[in-house]
């Protein structure tokens, strides 16, 4: 009997997948960066801010809640810049990455038939799952860093009447990164359980439901009790800007969601017969 040996970690697979994802990541990162520049370009000019806020007020409280809620106030530069962190376009871009990457890497490879090739080499199912998880989580954090860099660059490009609290934006970005990673965890779980189309649908449905719960809870005071139900509640810009410390409670909730969904996905992936 030969001595047992552990298969080495599949770095070539990690590299290959990273290179495949990189163009999409780069495009998403560029768009997020440009959105930050655009938002700062608007909010550094008082006249433009007034016009923008008047226009948003005309659209009604629902739309206002949709693009920033109470943060949209004249004179609150930080709140206005933070719109760039939570406006629907930016969230959509994050969603694209969070949903697209794990489903493309796990369920997508299974459906293409290439997973059979990967697993026929010295690559365990756990290794494959870890590679997909790493690319998702690291990619998300890299996007968050790009978003923060967008704010940093913008504050150097434009003059603001008030000091822009970059440290608070950094806290917001880190918290946002954990939120995005948690969504990635949900997508990993879905990709481990279902075929690609179903995995994408489930994750998008989960996000859309959470997003609308957040909007409804912000817009309709009687539904405020729904706040803890939505994952978006755990990235509270107002709290991050007003309190000096880190929002440890919120971060723990999101990290728990990330860990539970990722581990559960890993167990399902390991146990499940892949539809090769």
């Amino acid at each position: 009997m030969k001595a047992k040996h552990r298969p080495p970690f599949p770095w070539p697979l990690l590299r290959f997948w990273t290179l495949r994802i990189l163009p999409a990541w780069f495009l998403i990162a560029l768009m997020i960066f440009l959105v930050q520049l655009a938002i700062c370009g608007i909010v550094h000019d008082n006249e433009r801010v007034k016009a923008m806020l008047q226009y948003i007020d005309m659209l009604g409280p629902y739309i206002k809640a949709f693009i920033g809620g109470d943060g949209l106030q004249y004179g609150d530069i930080a709140g206005l810049i933070a719109v760039g962190y939570q406006d629907p376009l930016v969230l959509l871009l994050y969603m694209l990455f969070a949903v697209g990457v794990p489903t493309a890497l796990l369920a997508g490879e299974v459906q293409r038939g290439t997973m059979e090739l990967i697993l026929s080499r010295q690559t365990t199912k756990t290794h494959v799952y870890i590679c997909a998880g790493l690319i998702t989580v690291v990619g998300m954090y890299a996007l968050v860093i790009v978003m923060f860099l967008g704010t940093v660059v913008s504050t150097n490009l434009y003059d603001f009447e008030q000091q822009v609290p970059l440290y608070n934006f950094f806290k917001l970005a880190v918290n946002g990164g954990i939120l995005a990673s948690a969504v990635g965890g949900i997508a990993l779980l879905a990709a481990a359980c279902f075929r690609r189309g179903m995995a994408v649908s489930i994750t998008v449905a989960y996000l859309v439901v959470n997003y609308f719960i957040m909007i409804i809870a912000q817009w309709w005071p009687r539904m405020k009790w729904l706040d803890p139900v939505t994952i978006f509640n755990y990235v509270d810009g107002g709290k991050i800007f007003s309190e000096p410390g880190w929002p440890m409670g919120d971060m723990c909730v999101l990290i728990s969601l990330l860990v539970v969904s990722t581990v559960l996905g890993g167990v399902v992936w390991w146990r499940r017969d892949l539809p090769l």
Binding site: P12, S120, D273, L276
Partner: protein, 302 residues
Amino acid sequence: MKAIEVETLTKCYGSARGVEDLSFGIEKGEIFGYLGPNGSGKTTTIRCLMGLLRPTSGQCCILGRRIIHGKATEHNQIGYLPGEFRAWPGLTPRKLLRLLARLGNGNEVDKQQEELAERLDLDLDRKMRALSKGNRQKVGIIYAFQHQPEVLILDEPTIGLDPLIRQIVLDLIRETAQAGATILLSSHDLSEVAAICGRAAILREGRLVELAPISKIVQQGQRLIKVWFVEGTPVPELLAGELPGVRVIQQNSNTLHVAYQGTIDALLKWLAQYQVDRIATTETSLEDAFIQYYRKEAGHES
């Protein structure tokens, strides 16, 4: 120690059966044919052997190590060609093969890759999406052989290949076995199994119905004999059951076409009573034996 061992393997997909209570072993250096019609469980067995499926019960061992689902057990020693070789369309065969080699211990496969590509007449630098089905299959063959594995599991290796390349692949399989590798060859092409395999297993509806040397399987099939009687001699009538295992297929004015199983001795003794002009026999192919086997198993034998 057998190179490949399958012990009481059962795999069910929910209520549907994949394979049931399958047991066989393959010796080192053997080329073993794995036969069966579509849906008989060949690919299920192979995927259990590769650790891609979790057996419902039983176990598989390769080179003495038990295969654990998803653990890539001994995969550096296995060359695998899936039934349908599908790859990333944007890669060239060279990049694809290098990537797959590096997912094991096969960093030094470039020379072997080039040699195989030359032998199979394959351009390694065209994108996979631009390759024909046959050329993609050639990439699959190089993938299976490039790291010189001790065990090769080949699911329909010659599908889509032209006769010339098919012959080269069969030669490659023979040479690899002569060099000491063990080969499990699943195929629908019975002539190629007959040409290169020493033994074969026949599967039907997930169960092993035969496991024997090819020559024995062929012997079990019916053989045909055509007898011409001397002009003017009446053709004798062979009554049903008169000679066990012999039946008349066709009778004309001076010829008798007969199928028989087992030895020809009794038939020759019976014919010796008459004036026979000449006799012609046809070699039974594995295909005939296989078809008859299925008819027999399915209860269709007349």
